[in-house]
């Protein structure tokens, strides 16, 4: 029965007595999802009709999943954020097709298939997570990442002309394989901090640096720095949060920071050195490999400092975004502005503001913040008994929130722009499947107040007495 809470045997007595009104988040989510159809109707009848068709499965899924999450003591605010963002993203994509006519058309079928994939992922997660406690998984993740980059280097394609070889075509299907490097990163970091293996601080730093360098090299080879950007932040976040205090950790993090500064500074110097060679076509083999990366870094940082430095070239996309933001107002632009490049993906946030107004755009930012807070809280709770799951859920949270914020802030030219999809708002079958899987994973791990797997696998009485070793604990003492 919808919204009827089943008795949960693990609730503390005090919680049992309190009336749980979190079911209202299901109703609120449904209201917003239906409300989006009204808002969409005001903008475009065609888009509204398309959305209404997709709204039926969205409402069914929201009702069933919401009830399930509610009954399982899941995080209803997190569920609300996911449900609302999913519907806003779908509404936006239908409207983008009507206004901007991008090269691809938003496919509700792909959207639902992505959703189905995430269901399968969650179903098999219980088996999958057992892998995280085996040391071999760590090396397997490194091999998988190396394999992905190698495959892309030799077989990768660039169907959209973005200058990266991040896609792989298998028969009629094209998917962005770099998205899977994020999954390998999840597996890697979760296994690294798994409670079943004792690892020294040095081991963690060395192996994670190797993994980090592998991703950097792979990204440079396939000219796909966007995904690496997220992996870079994931690397720093996980080490910063989950590694115990130690001098080695501090030195490492400071070194990474300085390294980044040097990379940016060095790119500017290299750009000036290599520019004459690039213009005259006399670059050697090494220069040919690093030139696109150096140029990309130089251009992105230069544009952030001065958007008008190349208004009709590399700055065009951001300049149009800036115009769209000025036009957005409270209810969206009223001048039929449709000169926004890549509104279906990189510039989805700007497209959202331009279509529905800044308040709705700000609301989505708050929903991403909700995801981060809920995800972090789940991670905190789980960290008490299972570091691997804790790292996993935190990594997923970081990847969703950081990717969203990096692209949003980048598209608003507050930080260097990175051409990545925004979770929930952008289209792209592979990425949508991954985002839904991450969302499902977070909801799943939030169940039973963050004790889903603890209750099912470990006797609570035994857990109380267990002294589970924490990775890096020996060095930190």
């Amino acid at each position: 029965m919808f919204f009827t809470k089943k008795k949960s045997g693990i609730e503390p007595a005090a919680e049992k007595e309190a009336v749980d009104r979190s079911d209202r988040y299901i109703i609120l989510a449904v209201l917003i999802q239906v409300g989006m159809s009204g808002l969409l109707f005001l903008k475009s009848r065609e888009a509204s009709l398309n959305y209404l068709i997709l709204l039926i499965p969205i409402l069914i899924v929201t009702a069933f999943l919401g009830t399930h999450t509610y009954n399982k003591d899941g995080d209803m605010k997190l569920f609300f954020a996911f449900a609302v963002l999913a519907s806003i993203g779908a509404a936006l994509q239908f409207l983008v097709d009507e206004i901007y006519h991008p090269p691809t058309v938003f496919s509700p079928v792909k959207y639902l298939i992505s959703f189905g994939c995430s269901f399968l992922f969650i179903l098999f997660y219980k088996l999958f997570r057992k892998m995280l406690n085996h040391s071999v998984t760590l090396y397997l993740a490194i091999l998988m990442a190396a394999g992905i980059y190698a495959l892309l280097y030799f077989k990768g394609v660039d169907p959209n002309g973005y200058g990266t070889k991040a896609w792989l075509t298998v028969g009629p299907v094209t998917f962005q394989l770099t998205d899977f490097t994020k999954i390998t990163a999840l597996i890697f970091y979760s296994t690294l901090f798994s409670s079943k293996s004792e690892r020294s601080t040095w081991f963690i730093l060395v192996i994670s640096s190797f993994f980090f360098a592998l991703n950097l090299a792979g990204s440079v080879l396939i000219h796909e720095l966007g995904s690496f950007f997220i992996l870079f932040f994931l690397h720093l976040s996980v080490l910063c949060i989950f590694m115990p205090h130690s001098m080695a950790k501090r030195i490492y993090l400071i070194a990474i920071f300085l390294f980044c500064v040097m990379v940016v500074g060095g790119s500017f110097v290299l750009y000036k050195i290599l520019l004459p060679q690039a213009e005259s076509g006399t670059m050697n083999r090494i220069s040919t490999i690093i030139w696109p990366v150096v140029k990309k870094i130089y251009v992105r940082f230069s544009l952030t400092a001065n958007l008008n430095s190349d208004p009709y070239g590399s700055g065009y996309q951001l300049l149009q975004g800036k115009k769209a933001l000025w036009m957005s107002g409270l209810f969206g632009n009223t001048v039929n502005f449709s000169a926004l490049p890549v509104p279906e993906s990189d510039m989805a946030f700007i497209a959202l503001a331009s279509a529905f107004g800044l308040p709705l755009a700000f609301f989505t930012v708050l929903m991403f913040l909700r995801i981060f807070i809920s995800g972090s809280e789940i991670s905190r709770k789980i960290s008490e008994y299972d570091p691997a799951d804790s790292v996993l859920v935190y990594s997923v949270t970081v990847m969703l929130f950081l990717q969203a914020m990096i692209v949003i802030l980048g598209s608003c030219n507050l930080i260097p722009f990175t051409g990545l999809p925004i979770p929930f708002l952008s289209r792209g079958g592979t990425y949508q499947a991954i985002v839904f899987s991450f969302a499902g994973l977070m909801i799943s791990l939030s169940q039973n107040n963050g004790r889903k797997y603890k209750e099912s696998e470990v006797d609570p009485d035994v857990t109380e007495q267990l002294e589970i070793p924490y990775p890096g604990q020996d060095q930190a003492q």
Partner: protein, 468 residues
Amino acid sequence: MSQNSSKSHTRVRIRLSELAACIVCFLFIAFFSFKYLIRPAADSNSRALRNTIIYDAVKNYALEGDIVDRDGALIMGNAAEGIPAYAPAGKNRSYAYLLGYYTVSQNRENKYGLRGSLNEYLLFTLDKSNKGATVTLTTDNALQNYAFETILNGQEGSVIVLDNKTGDVLCFTSKSNIDYDVNDMESFIGSDVEGAQFRRGTFENDPPGSTFKIVTAAAAIEKDIDENLPDDFFAYTDTGEYYAPDSDFVITNYEHAVWGEVDLEKAMNNSVNCYFANLGVKIGAERMNKMAKNLMIGSDIKIPFLCTIHSRIDISNAEPVTIAQTAFGQGNTEITPFHLALIAQAMANDGKMMQPNIVKRIQSGNSLLYKSNPSVLKNCFRAKIAERLKPILHSTAVGYGIDEASCGMVYAKTGTAECANDRIHTYIIGFTENASFCISMNDSEHSSDLWPKAKQLVQFINGIYTRQ
């Protein structure tokens, strides 16, 4: 470090990361709300920047919306691809100062008149065919053209006609010292004639001349009602000269006329300066000031989408000579012709001044974006005052040749103001049962020149209401 301590540190770091995320998100929302929503609404420079950006983005495809009169007849519009909006012959001049223009050049916004303030609707609210919203004015095209061509007839000045019941501006035509054609912006911005670019009627703050005698008379009647004054309060023996107490400044009548025994009606009919100077001093500064303030003299009056009109009066602590001068329309008082039309309207409405509206409706496709509703701007005085003044103003109008037989019941008063640079500004304000008006000539000799013009205008106005 114990395991529990390590876990505790992890939890603290997670909390800190939550705090950092909150700060980033709230800073982002606060900054962008301020930059893109709050500041453009509050600061004109930011709004101009926003409009410049939008204009540059849409100028190649946006078609300016139509502006039509109250009956839907075109005033300016018919924009099509490659063809800018234009005003048909006649309206291109009679509406020129009202419509104005909106352009952006060299990252600067250039705006004037209704097109300048309605750019949000005319250019920045586009329908599916990329055409701006349709703006319906309260004006009547025929009356506007008639007022411009026949009443102004090439002279510098303005004609304002207001509907008594609704406050709608039925006509507001202006002519400055240049020939402004709204279809040719260069005829306006290219002019270097001093003062040419100011809209006559709402810009020039000149003394009201004898039209202010209506205000003095209203104040006197109010005093009489309040204090039940003796019958001789309104009596005065005119010698052709008046000296205010403690002053050797002489006030004379027009052409040094001597009127002998005069009462309020005779004084109003003949515009006897000495009578009103004396009456003003007898009324006192406080009551004069109060009536002027009640009629919103000294207060700003906003005409939505067009402008705000200003006026000035200061007799609170004035010497009797200043009060005397103010009482017959000179002194420190400054007022616009539009405001004088509003004073006439307040008299017509038994003391109620209506909010003036010139934009009736704004519509984009099926969406109604704006609609004006009649509302009282101010209850200026009691109906009894209007009741006693109306017969006096009617006999004054009849004296101007605006007779009942050809024009119906008309109430009017002329005014001649001596302005700076030896310029004479003449007015005639008045009202009928349906409409109030003010004809103003900025550089003329005699207010009596306006009598036949007022008669023609009233007859035309009556024709409009008869057709309805």
